[in-house]
């Protein structure tokens, strides 16, 4: 049995302007010990997917209107708030984007770690403190015992993210969701934090979901990658396959937008951007959501009138597009010049 299985998850925000379909029919499976990367641009529903799994979406206005989140066979969307509280932190932990604001400034970091341990294990103060020192050691914070009594403002961004990771790990969760764990950090610290996460995933035998808009981050850390666009998955493949043979025009465009270090004319050129803007999620196009920005779509295609299905273009590689790269190449060959 897979550790986590999400089936046709739909999370909508009921706002004054209308219903925002932030996550619109998302399905995936995460095996034990694997790392899944979810990439996509801002507002595509990555974070809402993660928060829906944790049951942390702000209700109201958000609501899970359909689908299941099966964690070890249990549907988390059906659990009561009380039951969910016992799952959070203990079974599934989460780390957030901004470590500068994710720690309470009025509490010593020792308190913030031990309160989680005591909450879920019910151990005494001394025992919890001992474990907290071990955790800080594990995330490579020097002089761990001495720093338990420091307040968060004494830590740098990278150090705070390490503390957040220590808190997330404190109850040996089976799944760690990292929502843009490195976005707020500078580049050298990003690499360290990613290495740390990978190391801890192995030593704690966890599964991990990394959410990011940075292709570099998922390339380094993930086994499988899901590309999200406008609330839907548009492509899913193993990391190598995705980077070597991107199929969806959007994935192609994303990879094309990565800054290049060498190549012709890159010194004077601008960075490549994807023209257009993501669709309005209140009233998304009924057809392919990438259609308006897709360089391959034209009026005669079926993809301008109906939504392409997510299909397996080759084993383990799913794509939602009428014009995947490999098929385009074939077509081009067939067309006489």
């Amino acid at each position: 049995m897979a550790l986590l299985e999400v089936r046709d998850l739909q999370t909508h925000f009921f706002t004054r302007e209308g219903v925002v379909k932030a996550v619109d029919g998302v399905s995936f499976t995460l095996e034990k010990g694997k790392t899944l990367g979810i990439v996509g641009e801002s507002g595509c529903g990555k974070s809402v997917t993660a928060l829906s799994i944790m049951g942390l979406i702000p209700k109201p206005p958000a609501k899970i209107v359909g689908g299941e989140v099966l964690f070890e066979g249990r549907d988390l969307t059906k659990l009561s708030e009380r039951q969910l509280e016992d799952v959070r932190g203990k079974e599934i932990a989460m780390i957030f984007q901004d470590p500068m604001t994710s720690l309470n400034p009025t509490l010593k970091i020792g308190t913030q770690i031990t309160e989680v341990i005591r909450r879920h294990y019910g151990v005494g103060k001394d025992e919890a403190r001992k474990r907290a020192v071990g955790l800080l050691d594990e995330v490579h914070i020097p002089n761990a015992a001495g720093r338990l009594d420091d307040y968060p403002h004494r830590f740098s961004g990278g150090m705070r993210q390490r503390v957040m990771i220590a808190i997330a790990l404190s109850c040996n969760p089976k799944l760690l969701i990292a929502d843009e764990p490195t976005t707020a950090l500078d580049v050298t610290v990003q690499a360290q934090v990613l290495d740390l996460l990978d190391e801890l995933r192995h030593s704690h035998d966890m599964s991990m979901i990394i959410i990011t808009h940075d292709m570099g981050v998922v390339a380094e850390a993930a086994d499988d990658i899901i590309v999200m666009y406008a609330g839907q998955f548009v492509e899913q493949a193993t990391t190598l396959d995705l980077f070597d043979h991107p199929e969806h025009p959007y994935t192609e465009a994303l990879l094309g937008a990565l800054p290049q270090i060498e190549g012709e004319g890159i010194r004077e050129g601008r960075l490549t951007a994807i023209p257009g803007r993501p669709p309005d999620l209140i009233d998304p196009p009924v057809a392919c959501r990438f259609g308006p920005r897709c360089p391959y779509a034209n009026r005669k295609d079926s993809c301008t009138t109906t939504m392409p299905e997510l299909r397996e273009i080759r084993p383990g590689h799913l794509v939602r597009s009428a014009h995947p790269t490999s098929e385009r190449a074939e077509v081009r060959e067939e067309v006489p010049v």
């Binding site: 932990a93 400034p105 009025t106 509490l107």
Partner: protein, 322 residues
């Protein structure tokens, strides 16, 4: 954000202060806590420091002077400095060595009597402020934390209560209770004055609960009471301390007013308002009797206002350095 002259002053003061010097080479970094920072900013505000000193002296005076007559051998020249001792032979005296602030029409020493009145005023002031805080925090935090319809209903109810006039309501409350002593006056003065505190707390909770660390606490399974008590309320502390010193003058003045119109503490007990009322009848012949308690009330209220002002500058997040 526009930087006002006040901001720059505070920032410069902090940078020049010992916090800025903490990093001298070879010396271990000293922990610059929020409270220490606030303290340095506070002591740089001269008005607030003077007000604080005067406030402490006033409180010490009120609580220590009436005790002196009990110590035999000391203050022999003030041997009858007993706020209750009636001595008609000494009545209506001016300032003298035996009675530094004179005596009232019953020959009671004014220095001791003012201290006794101050005890009552300060006790009622602090007790009522405490009640205001407890009710205000409970009401405001529940309203802000639960949010939605509950918040809406609770705030509309508060809006309705705001229409209640403070002092008439206190008088009615006293009339309903029927007895007048320190405790009933505390209740009367606090029952119609916790609305502002509740609103302050609600506003704070609403803005604080959107913080990332609240979401992070939820993500590790913290229950609502833990989030409220551990993560939200401690962060409102700075604002609450300021609220204490803002509520205090209002309550002290309210008590003085009630006593002045004869609805407060009655003899042989004393309060500043009641003493001023006693002095009012003879203010042409013996102005000291109305001047002394009035000055005392003014000093307490002014000090509390200056202290609140200094604390706001020291603790307010908008002038606080990040």
């Amino acid at each position: 954000m526009a930087v006002s002259p006040k901001d720059t002053r505070v920032r410069a003061a902090t940078l020049a202060g010992p916090v800025g010097q903490a990093g001298t080479a070879g010396e271990a970094l000293r922990q610059a806590s929020l409270w220490r920072d606030a303290w340095y900013r506070y002591v740089r505000n001269k008005g607030a420091v003077i007000a604080g000193v005067v406030f402490v002296l006033l409180v010490l005076y009120c609580y220590l002077i009436p005790g002196f007559w009990k110590i035999p051998g000391i203050w022999t020249s003030l041997a009858d400095i007993d706020p209750y001792a009636v001595e008609f032979a000494d009545a209506r005296q001016g300032m003298s060595l035996a009675h530094p602030l004179g005596t009232d029409r019953f020959g009671r020493d004014m220095l001791a009597r003012t201290a006794l009145g101050g005890q009552v005023s300060i006790q009622i002031g602090f007790a009522a402020t405490l009640v205001i805080l407890v009710i205000g925090i409970a009401y405001g935090s529940i309203s802000g934390f639960v949010g939605g319809m509950v918040d809406n209903a609770m705030m509309r109810f508060l809006d309705a209560l705001y229409g209640l006039p403070y002092l008439p309501f206190a008088i009615i409350t006293l009339a309903i209770i029927g007895t007048i002593n320190i405790w009933t006056m505390t209740i009367a003065l606090s029952i119609a004055s916790w609305f502002t505190t509740a609103r302050i707390v609600r506003g704070q909770i609403i803005s604080l609960k959107e913080n990332d660390y609240v979401r992070a606490a939820k993500a590790v399974g913290a229950r609502w009471h833990r989030i409220l008590l551990r993560h939200l309320l401690p962060n409102t502390l700075g604002v609450l301390i300021i609220a204490v010193f803002l509520e205090l003058p209002g309550v002290v003045l309210g008590e003085a007013f009630l006593s002045f119109i004869g609805l407060g503490i009655s003899p042989p007990e004393a309060s500043w308002g009641a003493m001023a009322q006693d002095g009012r009848a003879v203010y042409r012949v013996q102005p000291l009797l109305i001047v002394i308690p009035s000055v005392a009330i003014a000093m307490l209220v002014l000090c509390a206002n200056f202290i609140a002002d200094g604390m706001r500058d020291a603790l307010d997040p908008r002038t606080r350095e990040t």
